[in-house]
């Protein structure tokens, strides 16, 4: 049955279309038209087979219902009333927050390069676009992502030369900018030393050693491990040197890197020599001073007094049986340095030592970095404890922002089991007094578990080699 009511009321057409739909959705309602009686709607009503009184005007509301029964008609009229009442009620709540920016470009709108920096850690194959947005905006841009192609790295760094930006990375794990740590960074006191680092964990160790010696850091700018290769040509290193030279807080600059490609080394050294700020090079690798020695030189150059970083003895004072030294690391530069130091002390080829970097791609595919989740290494410590060919175990623990909030907690039990089995465990702890994990508590927990603990990675490696070399 078809019924047409006429009401004296005005409601806008959008609301009425919603009301019509809501009423039409009721069981037993074949069709519903709730609409102002405009010519268009009268035509629609006629087309739907409704008989509309000729007296209606555009200020009347039609409620035209095609229903199965009187009961449905009553229900439909109630629904019309309810829907109209609901539509006139103001919505709860305010206007809501603006949606988050969908791209870095959107995020950089109105960003001031003087006060804003960018941190890109998207998957490497996609990182270029967001990094480029930040570089286009002239921002200091840290690219934490790895697996960015060399061509894209060069494109980013060339573009930065045009916009006045600095690209830190790709694969830059650590930076400190004006006291703010980005990525895996240690909390350091402010001071006169500016760092340019092509190595993330190398930078962290230098930060920790300087802070331990009471020398503060102005900025620590990562440049990515490939920056000083022939392909990239040191573009970010040169730019970072200029920025630190212009920075009032920086009185001394340290560059830490693997030895650069020869033509790049020459360019960087020549540029460094032209600056007003003295530049110290701390090169990593065979025949170079270790990071602790570099830190000592920097502290002296900065007018500080160097004292050897602290250490605490372990529960086991000799190697287990005829076993050899093995190292299990979360920091790649820690691993490389320990391998060189220990091999030199033992008179062995570095490659002959079994030293694993759990931060390497083969261990991080599809899982977090071991500085966040160390479970793979914990399994390996248990395995080495049960393996009699392991005579001395060397580990590193890296504290700081972004890292596991309490790495000692998970290590204590495996270390206790290893030392109880007669396997000496030597640990280098990389951290500062102000790091959120609490350096002293971490070192204490590991010492209590029986480990020998060193705040210098090179000293830890030497101590481990001493244990392994003793007959």
């Amino acid at each position: 049955m078809k019924q047409v009511d006429v009401r004296k009321a005005y409601v806008d057409s959008v609301t009425l279309m919603q009301v019509s739909r809501r009423v039409a959705d009721l069981d037993g309602v074949a069709a519903a038209l709730v609409a102002m009686a405009t010519d268009l709607n009268l035509e629609l009503a006629a087309g739907m087979g409704f008989d509309v009184p000729a007296t209606v005007s555009g200020n009347d509301m039609l409620v035209a219902l095609d229903v199965a029964s009187d009961d449905v008609l009553a229900a439909a009229r109630t629904e019309v009333d309810a829907a109209l009442a609901a539509a006139s009620r103001p919505a709860a709540g305010g206007f809501g927050d603006a949606p988050p920016p969908p791209t870095m470009r959107a995020a950089t709108r109105d960003a001031d390069p003087e006060t804003a920096v960018a941190l890109v850690s998207t998957p490497g194959q996609y990182a270029f676009a967001d990094a480029l947005d930040a570089v286009d905006a002239g921002l200091l841009t840290m690219v934490f992502s790895d697996n960015v192609s060399v061509a894209q790295e060069v494109a980013l760094k060339r573009r930065a030369g045009e916009t006045g930006a600095l690209v830190m990375g790709p694969d830059c794990g650590t930076a400190v900018v004006g006291g703010v740590g980005l990525g895996f960074a240690n909390v350091v006191r402010p001071g006169p030393v500016g760092i340019v680092a092509a190595s993330g964990t190398g930078a962290q160790h230098l930060l920790a050693l300087l802070d331990g010696a009471g020398v503060g850091v102005s900025h620590c700018l990562g440049v990515g491990g490939r920056d000083l290769s022939a392909d990239v040509g040191g573009l970010s290193t040169l730019r970072a040197l200029d920025l630190l030279d212009a920075d009032e807080a920086t009185e001394l600059v340290v560059v830490i890197s693997k030895p650069p490609a020869p033509e790049v080394a020459e360019k960087v050294r020549a540029h460094a020599a032209s600056l007003g700020t003295p530049v110290v090079f701390g090169l990593l690798g065979p025949g170079q001073p270790d990071l602790t020695a570099t830190a000592a030189a920097v502290v002296e150059a900065a007018g500080g007094t160097w004292t050897a970083p602290e250490s605490w003895g372990g529960a086991v004072s000799s190697r287990r049986g005829q076993g050899v030294l093995k190292g299990l690391f979360v920091g790649g530069t820690m691993r490389d340095e320990a391998r060189l130091v220990a091999a030199s002390a033992l008179g062995l080829e570095p490659a002959s030592l079994e030293m694993v970097d759990f931060g390497d791609d083969e261990y991080t595919r599809g899982r977090p970095h071991p500085m966040i989740d160390g479970s793979l290494r914990l399994d390996r410590i248990a395995h080495e404890t049960d393996d009699p060919t392991c005579g001395v175990l060397l580990l590193d623990v890296v504290l700081g922002l972004g890292s596991d909030p309490d790495p000692a907690a998970a290590l204590v039990e495996p270390v206790r089991r290893a030392t109880a089995a007669g396997l000496p465990v030597v640990v280098s702890v990389i951290g500062t007094r102000d790091d959120p994990q609490d350096l002293r508590r971490t070192a204490g927990a590991l010492t209590d578990a029986g480990a020998a603990v060193f705040l210098s990675n090179a000293a830890a490696a030497r101590a481990a080699a001493d244990l392994a070399g003793a007959s």
Binding site: V14, T15, Q18, R21, A24, A31, L33, L40, A45, A91, G94, F95, G96, A98, P99, P100, P101, P102, T103, M104, A106, A107, T108, R109, A111, E114, T115, A116, V117, A118, L119, V120, T122, P123, A127, F128, A129, D130, A134, L140, F144, S145, Q152, A155, R158, V177, G179, V180, L182, G183, S218, H219, L243, L244, A246, D247, A249, T250, I372, G402
Partner: protein, 463 residues
């Protein structure tokens, strides 16, 4: 840039690293990142194109500088050079076989209007055979047409000019709502109305415009944006302001007063009359940005009821097409989703220019077409700033503190964010001859943008 202590860190990627920054009492602005659509290498190539940034800046500045004045009203045969049997239509090119119901209906109506067929059946046969008729997109002639967008030689068109860039654009006169040609209806009342528009309304408007002098359409658009119109689905204020401009000259034209009264009644009774002036104004704006090498800014979005097509500044007049989506919204009378045709019309030129759905915040009433809320409308426009290269200060949105309309849709931002331009639109009936069945919201298919990305990549310069 110089080194200092940052107060804000913009982050994209791992939340853990953003959290570590926030722990240091530094503000973070976090990108809602997601993997991009389309080919990662193509995206990288387009992003790396050294021309892109400046080309997009140029595209934006030309869009902002474009003017739009109504300078004349003329028959399409004269203004667009359409010969007998030559029709224009909305969207990218389409064959009779692939044409949707409303497009076929409008072309049938065009045959009847032009006297090229006596009956709908005869019209259909001639169209199917391509017998003495040909049709091409409005955009190919610099024109635009709402819904089916069919323009015939005898129809009168608005002629707008952008003297800054030396361009012109044209659009037919709006017929009103309900059973109208642009929604695919072709009954006698449709053809009779079109004849009256050609015989009475067109000549009257011509006289009025010629007596008034050029009407600054862009200025009216700027005002309507501040009066609750978004210029696509709501043109109420614009229509009345336009009438205000030409009314004195209409009254003063010496034409019979019953004709003048009928024309004024017709214009005032159709809240969408001004849409057909907004559209060519928007076309002039986006056309000014066309053909800039390296630019990834969208210059055309248009639908023919079968396909959605876009054009991009850096790829000239190439169309990137994919099957059109069907709008979601509210239906007139007893019509429902099954009655709706896929998206149709050149009216998405309004969104291409930054108004319409892109500026939904200025017309909160429109969002209720999909059962949304005022916050939805605000959020939609704010989301659109994420995919556009800039803002148009001439079109300030009061509720957003007069922030300019989000302008210059960027292909790379769309594929990276997955955010598609928001379009407000009318819905045509699926079956030829039905007319309008509702109105609602729709987005373009993502495939249009990934294709455009590939084409931009093929033309990209190495850094």
């Amino acid at each position: 840039m110089r080194l200092g202590t940052p107060t804000t860190v913009l982050t994209a990627g791992a939340e853990l690293l953003a959290d570590a920054v926030a722990q240091q009492a530094v503000d973070t602005r976090r990108v809602a990142w997601q993997p991009p659509e389309g080919d990662a290498d193509a995206l990288a190539a387009v992003m790396a194109d050294p021309r892109r940034a400046s080309a997009n800046e140029t595209a934006l500045s030309r869009m902002l500088a474009a003017e739009a004045s109504l300078v004349d009203v003329r028959p399409a045969s004269e203004a667009l050079g359409l010969g007998p049997g030559e029709f224009l239509h909305a969207g990218p090119p389409v064959t009779w076989e692939r044409a949707s119901g409303p497009m076929k209906g409008a072309l049938i109506g065009a045959m009847l209007l032009e006297g090229l067929a006596e009956t709908p059946e005869a019209a259909e046969a001639a169209l199917a055979a391509g017998d003495g008729v040909a049709w091409e997109p409005c955009h190919h002639r610099g024109a635009v047409g709402p819904m089916a967008g069919v323009v015939t030689p005898s129809m009168w068109v608005f002629e707008l000019r952008d003297d800054v860039h030396g361009n012109a654009s044209w659009c037919s006169l709006n017929e009103g709502l309900g059973k109208v040609l642009r929604y695919g209806a072709y009954g006698p009342e449709v053809v009779d109305r079109l004849r009256w528009m050609g015989d009475v309304l067109g000549p009257l408007l011509q006289t009025a415009v010629r007596r008034t002098g050029a009407v600054d359409v862009k200025a009216i658009v700027a005002q309507m944006i501040q009066m609750g119109d978004e210029g696509h689905n709501r043109n109420r204020a614009g229509t009345l302001m336009f009438l205000r401009e030409v009314l004195p000259a209409l009254v003063d034209s010496g034409a019979p007063s019953d004709d003048v009264a009928e024309a004024v009644r017709f214009v005032a009774g159709n809240d969408h009359f001004f849409l057909n002036l907004v559209m060519p104004a928007c076309k002039l704006q986006t056309r000014a940005a066309a053909g800039i090498d390296g630019s990834s800014v969208v210059t055309v979005m248009a639908r023919n009821g079968t396909d959605f097509g876009i054009q991009v500044s850096g790829t000239g007049d190439a169309w990137f097409t994919a099957p059109a989506n069907t709008p979601e919204g509210l239906y007139l009378g007893a019509y429902g989703p099954d009655d709706a045709n896929p998206d149709i019309g050149d009216s998405a030129i309004t969104e291409t220019a930054g108004i319409g759905g892109m500026s939904m915040a200025t017309a909160p009433a429109i969002v209720r077409f999909v059962g949304g809320s005022v916050p939805d409308a605000l959020a939609t426009t704010q989301r659109m700033y994420g995919i556009t290269v800039g803002e148009n200060p001439a079109f300030g949105i009061p509720i957003l503190e007069f922030r300019g309309a989000p302008t210059g849709i960027d292909v790379t931002s769309v594929v990276r964010s997955g955010v598609l331009p928001q379009i407000n639109t009318g819905m045509a009936g699926r079956v030829a001859g039905t007319g309008q069945v509702g109105a609602g919201l729709v987005t373009p298919p993502m495939a249009c943008f990934t294709q455009a990305l590939d084409a931009l990549a093929a033309r990209a310069q190495q850094p």
